[in-house]
Each structure stands twice: as structure tokens, then as C-alpha cells.
Amino acid sequence: MPAPAASPRLEPFRLRGANFNLLVLRLLDPRIEVIVPAIADQFRRAPGFLRFAPLVIGLDDLQAAPQDIDFAGLAAELRRIEITPIGTVGGTPELRAAAQGAGLPPLRAAGGKDEEVPMAPPPAATAPAGPPPAPPLPPGTARPTMVIDHPVRAGQRIWAQGADLIINSTVNPGAEVIADGNLHVYGNLRGRAIAGGADNTEARVFALNFDPELVSIAGYYAVREGLTDAPIGKTVQVRLIGENMRFDRLG
């Protein structure tokens, strides 16, 4: 038996802990044929924002026996509708084991006191989770544009599919505007603003009066509570620099 090779010049990897913000999909029904169409329906309405988003499957609300749930089938179906399940949280040990057998390992909620903690929680390194960045559109690619000339009101959702979106009015609290490309709001932006829906990390958000409930680019997002350093109430451009959202005043 040869001895293990001597250490190379550079260490090949480093193991670090980090905290992530992840969406949890809490299952309320064990039947895939019920879950998947319902999710597909929901996600069709908010497509870009959640596409390929990593997602944790919550097992706490499930009343089923492990053999009644086809975790492998569920994972495959979710990937088919462009959702990426990465593990589970909660549930009975039997359920967790069944999921793990299907490639969905149990995750530990940060701050939670789940058993089987593999390592001490690292110092908070909060990085907003998001899908892997996609290559930018080739330069010069003309993109269609959708123009909306009326206020977007609470409860309304406008999605410019494969297009830029220009709102020539206000986006009120409780409204949602989604562009697969860039998003321009020539009025008060008070609702949810989602740009680069289709993983376009080059997309930007422009707002005459920036006061959103949530802003997201290519799956990276910030809620209003986290926008304490952004120039609220000003004319602002938002873009991604690496994994960080940057807010610059315009004009």
C-alpha cells in the first residue's frame, strides 16, 4: 500500500461554515401528484424570482410514514419544474433518513437546536442565497420591452417575460413587478421589484423614488428591513456586484 501522497503546495480546499437564507417548502401533503402541480401553479405566477432557487423541504407538518413518500420522485419532479431541492429540515428521524436515502440530507436551521450538529455554528457570514449566476446576455442583444403607463396596485403582478419592464407610474405597496431583464420605475417604487428574473445577473433596477418592500436581481434579494443603508426615497440604481447588491444614487 503506497503511503498517501505528500501535501501539495497549495491546500486543495478549505472547509468553512456559512449561514444561508433559504426558502423552506413545508410539505402539507405526502402525495407527489398533489404537491408538484400545486407548486408548479404557484411558481408559474412568480417565475423568474424562484427559478432554480435552492429550496429546503420542511417535513414538520407531514403526518405520513416514510414508505409513503417517494422522496426521489419528488426531487426529480421539482427539478423538472426548475426548483432545486437541496435537503430537508425537521420531521421525524425516519422521514429524514428516507429523504437522505434519496439524496436530500437533513439541514440544521441556524439558531435552531436540532440534534446531530456536526460543527459549531460559524460566526454569522450572511450571504443572501441565490441560484448560480448565469452568463450575461451577449452584448448587443436586443431585448423587447414592456411599458406600463398606469399605477401598479396592491395585489397586481406584472411580469415582463423575457423582456425589460418600464413602469411609467407608481408601484404601490403590495404590488409586484417582475422583469426578466431590467426594471425601470419612473415613479414611486413601493412594492416588490424583481429584475433579472431568468438568472440574468447583469440586470438592474432603476427607480425614480426608491422605497421598495423587496428588491431582487437574479434571485439575490433584499427585503425592506435589510435596506437600512440604501438611499431610500432617492433616485436609485440597483445592480449586483458579485453576490452583493449595490445601491447607487442617480442624477
Binding site: H150, P151, R153, A154, G155, Q156, S169, T170, N172, P173, G174, A175, N188, R190
Partner: protein, 272 residues
């Protein structure tokens, strides 16, 4: 052809029925043939506020199911003879109202009336959708608080997408804003939303601001729409709003905190 006006809000208890009763009475006083329909099936109270609850024989559901003719269900107001009321049913649920049934009623009423007011139930569910479906104009009633403004914003979105006019891609429903229960003193203290803030969010023309007033409760308890009470600030504000609706230009009143004069300080008087 009659104009169909829905009085709607999204949120409950903001003053839709109070406003419907006042507006219908005001339009009728101005000589317009007016009918006001209670769409709040199961929770009818327009008839109470109009003071006709003891004259209800048939209601809108009876007309839809064919148990009564429309003119058997219509109640003529005894104070203003150009005004009629079509009550809601107390005992049925909202499913008893159908789109076809309401369409037939509105078509028949259109022959005889200038204005058909629809007092919407709260919410954005079936009953509210039906009340606004046939509207040519909408009076959106809002209180100076965040949740009420949010719900009114929602209902404006619904008007743009779910009304018959929207479905047929005709001219949009004409929108009017009424802010009710406005208390300038509390606005000044920051306890209520400012009128400008409400107008900025909703961005539709302001028809009137109705002050918070004790006379409203008194009016509904006696079954006399508050617009008939000349001494009431709310009644006067509704009169102004109706006049504006009919094209008159009147300045808005009751939107600034009252300067407490010598007499009111002496007697600790309150707005009537």
C-alpha cells in the same frame, strides 16, 4: 341609459353603506331618478340606514329566483320620491346572486332610472366582484389608515381587470375617491394618514372628504341618511360630494383641524 355606480372599498366597516345611502339620497334630491341596491346578501343593512326595514317584502334574491317581480321588491322612499331601494336578502347567502340574474335586474332598472347605485359588501370575493362587475363608475370609500388604503388600492386593481368594462375592453370604469371618518385633529397628531398621502397612493380624483362625526351614528339609528341632516358636518360634506359628482366645483371643507373658537371652548362643544 342609466349610469351604474358601485360603492366599494375592499375593507369592511369603512362607510360604504353610509356613503351609498347619502349619495343615493343626494342624487335623488337633485332630481335624478335613483335606485340603490344592497349587494350585501346575508348582512343587509342598507334598508336599516335608509329607514325602510319595516317595508321589506321581497328582496333581490326573490327577484333573481323569479319569486317576485322587480317592482314588487323595489321600495319607494317616502322622503324623496325619485329614490328607490332594492334590499338584499337576510336569509340567503351570496351564492344566491348570479351574474345573469343581476344583469337582468340592472338592464330592467336602466330603463327607468338615471343612476343605479350598488352598495358592495366588503372583501374582494364573489359578492364584491358581482357588485362592481356592471359598474360604469366607482366610488371607492377609504378611511385614513394604512390597511384601508391598501385594500382600496387592491379594489382599484380589480376594477381595472375584472369589471365588465375591462373584460369588454371598453373605456375603463370612472373612479372617484371618498375619504370617510377623517379626523383632522388626529391626522395632525400623526394618528391617521394625511389626505395627501392617501391621494398620492390611490391617485384617483377626490370626490369628497367626510369628517368623523357623531351625527352619522345618530342618523343610522334613526334610519335617516346623514345627508338629510343639515346641521351635520358629515351631511354637508356628502352634499358637497354629490354636487361635485354632478359637475359643480366646490372647495373641500373639514380637512383642516378646527380652530377652537371662544364659544366651543366655553361649552366644550364638539363637531355635530
Amino acid at each position: 341609459m342609466a349610469q351604474v355606480i358601485v360603492v366599494t372599498s375592499g375593507k369592511g366597516g369603512v362607510g360604504k353603506t353610509t356613503s351609498s345611502a347619502a349619495f343615493a339620497t343626494g342624487l335623488a334630491q337633485a332630481g335624478k331618478k335613483t335606485v340603490v341596491i344592497d349587494f350585501d346578501v346575508g348582512l343587509r343593512n342598507l334598508d336599516l340606514i335608509m329607514g325602510v326595514e319595516r317595508r321589506v317584502v321581497f328582496d333581490i334574491v326573490n327577484v333573481i329566483t323569479g319569486e317576485a317581480k322587480l317592482n314588487q321588491a323595489l321600495i319607494r322612499d317616502k322622503r324623496v320620491d325619485t329614490l328607490s331601494i332594492l334590499p338584499a336578502s337576510q336569509t340567503r347567502d351570496k351564492d344566491a346572486l348570479t351574474k345573469e340574474g343581476v344583469a337582468n335586474i340592472i338592464e330592467e332598472l336602466s330603463k327607468d332610472f338615471d343612476y343605479i347605485l350598488c352598495d358592495s359588501p366588503a372583501g374582494i370575493e364573489k359578492g364584491a366582484l358581482l357588485a362592481l362587475y356592471f359598474a360604469d363608475q366607482a366610488i371607492v370609500v377609504t378611511n385614513p389608515e394604512v390597511s384601508s388604503v391598501r385594500d382600496s388600492d387592491r379594489i382599484l386593481g380589480v376594477l381595472q381587470s375584472k369589471s365588465k368594462r375591462a373584460e369588454e375592453k371598453r373605456d375603463p370604469v370612472k373612479e372617484h375617491l371618498i375619504v370617510t371618518r377623517y379626523a383632522p385633529n388626529r391626522v395632525e397628531k400623526g394618528e391617521m394618514l394625511k389626505l395627501e398621502d392617501i391621494r398620492e397612493i390611490l391617485a384617483i380624483p377626490l370626490l369628497g372628504v367626510i369628517p368623523e362625526s357623531e351625527s352619522v351614528l345618530k342618523a343610522s339609528n334613526t334610519g335617516n341618511p346623514v345627508i338629510l341632516d343639515d346641521g351635520s358636518t358629515a351631511g354637508q360634506a356628502y352634499k358637497d360630494a354629490v354636487a361635485r359628482f354632478l359637475g359643480e366645483d366646490r372647495p373641500h371643507r373639514f380637512i383642516d383641524p378646527e380652530k377652537r373658537g371662544f364659544l366651543s371652548r366655553l361649552f366644550g362643544g364638539r363637531a355635530a
